[in-house]
Symmetry: C2
Subunit: 324 residues, 2 copies
């Protein structure tokens, strides 16, 4: 199936290569870790790409940096803006700070104070709105109209997708041919970047999208052949509540082999085991791929599998295994 891409700008692999040069001074080339424990448990050979060690604590620093450093001088002077209550707001503030330009993040007034403080800590400005999609979009529109800021969508943006594609570019260079790559799916930015890169560098590598069962809009979209949106899903994987958009649907519908689901319990267990065995801090959204690998032994056993650990921003005083 081919999506009609004539009306939207879809990034190319050349954009990924340019992104890599552009963002190199501002992001980490993150390490790839292995775990004999998880290899034994899964029957697969797993390569964990540690974006939890990335600047601002998540892969989102790649896409945000690519967007910010793509701007013309004239546009940069007017700054950037976004709506996000999570890692994208943080990352856009980080990138804007590195370029020395203004970033405005529209965030629901109910978002955790710690997240607002983190955005401000990187030099960004927080504009609080009522916690609804309508209020968020209205305020963003107002911000863009009054400041001329460039809107950098968290994932439905060609510059952002090309930036996320640099992650699997490094993974592929570091560990060689993989049978599969598994990444979480929310809005689809990381999965799209992964599809974009792997379809060029290693077309035989299968791409699996890992999603919480409680927020299975990508799963349902994948099987329906069109974007289906979730209505306020509840999941511990709070980075994965958003829905696909045209630019990410293009990649999901054309390149993803399957969407695999994990329950809340499976996600929390995979997160706990990762902390305990690998001694690294990952956020719940980031544990979904491992959860799906452990429950689908028939799919992954005997294979060389890349696992994107997307981020490590978590409230250390409120861990999910302590709330049951």
């Amino acid at each position: 199936m081919k999506t009609d891409t004539q009306e939207i700008d879809i990034p190319t692999f050349d954009d990924v290569k340019k992104a890599r040069e552009r963002i190199a001074p501002y992001v980490h080339r993150t390490p790839v870790l292995t775990s004999s424990y998880f290899n034994e448990l899964s029957g697969a050979e797993l390569f964990f790409k540690c974006e939890n060690f990335q600047k601002a604590g998540a892969f989102k620093a790649r896409g945000a940096s690519n967007a910010v450093f793509s701007l013309s001088e004239a546009q940069a002077e007017k700054g950037v803006a976004t709506h996000s209550s999570g890692n994208h707001a943080l990352s856009l503030s980080y990138a804007a700070g590195r370029r020395g330009i203004k970033a405005i993040a529209v965030m629901p007034r109910t978002a955790p104070e710690a997240k607002k403080a983190a955005v401000r800590g990187y030099g960004g400005e927080v504009r609080e709105c009522e916690p609804s999609t309508a209020a968020r979009e209205a305020m963003l529109e107002e911000v863009v109209a009054s400041t001329g800021a460039d809107f950098v969508h968290p994932y439905n943006d060609a510059r952002v997708i090309a930036g996320q594609g640099t992650c699997s570019l490094e993974l592929n260079e570091d560990v060689g041919p993989l049978d599969a790559v598994v990444a979480p799916i929310g809005g689809g930015g990381m999965i799209s970047g992964t599809c974009l890169t792997m379809s060029h560098m290693s077309p035989s590598t299968k791409i699996y999208a890992a999603e919480p069962k409680n927020a299975d809009d990508a799963y349902r979209s994948f099987h329906a052949g069109e974007i289906i949106e979730d209505d306020a899903p509840q999941t511990v994987a709070d980075g994965l509540k958003v829905s696909l958009r045209p630019r990410t649907w293009h990649f999901v519908s054309n390149y993803v082999t399957d969407v695999l689901l994990a329950t809340e319990e499976e996600i929390i267990e995979a997160m706990y085991l990762t902390w305990q065995r690998m001694k690294i801090v990952i956020e719940p959204s980031c544990a979904v791929p491992l959860a799906t690998i452990l429950k689908n032994r028939d799919v992954f056993a005997g294979k060389r599998v890349g696992v994107i650990l997307t981020g490590g921003n978590v409230d250390l005083k409120k861990l999910p295994w302590m709330q049951s």
Copy 2:
């Protein structure tokens, strides 16, 4: 000051080099991480040697593997034994398992079940004793007498110290000349290995031992010029409650520049910040060096400083910042 070393076997740098070859198949060459956040906070350039990623979760796998793989075939057949309620018991079980020989760990019956289970998980046998030094030593003596097992002391053992010395050997190779190295001090095994290696590879590098104020026996020993033992100290840094012994006192008294202290609050804060900013799991004992670096800016600012992150074995359901 020179300690009289004629009566005890003190390892040499040649022993460290042999240890490195001997244990290479059984331990990780752990990565060195940096953190722009902590560089800014401390004013120093910090290089974190991540032994929390080591096999069995701590640097102790180095010394234990060196001891186990140094044994003659005849001795190996009789197995190894130790007393330890912590990482050394785990590591000795791990190393013995790799050689396919028996390991017996004498542990107080009051030790956490999780720790006993972990020793058994690596194939070791747990012998429970009453929680007193006398009971522990009596049972160990009985085990050695009845089985012929080789007693591998957690730190007062030349093979163990030489094994721990491989850690700073790697650090020095990976990051080049350092002005200082800071490591935690309990019984002194890691500090001794660090002194042994650095005094040969980089004699101008200063070695600082970091100790909990609540268990400051090394500090008092250092200033008194003789070993002073603590009487049941209470600290969150539970790996650092034990006292120096002749082989480690040799290194501490001859090569350590200073012993620096940190309070319980400072240790917990350094641990929390490390998890939050570096996204890695470290145990409380392991946070003591960073705590002393952050409070002694005058000593470390402007310097290139190696920090040994000794281990990451911690009960994730019982974190120190959640108990206040």
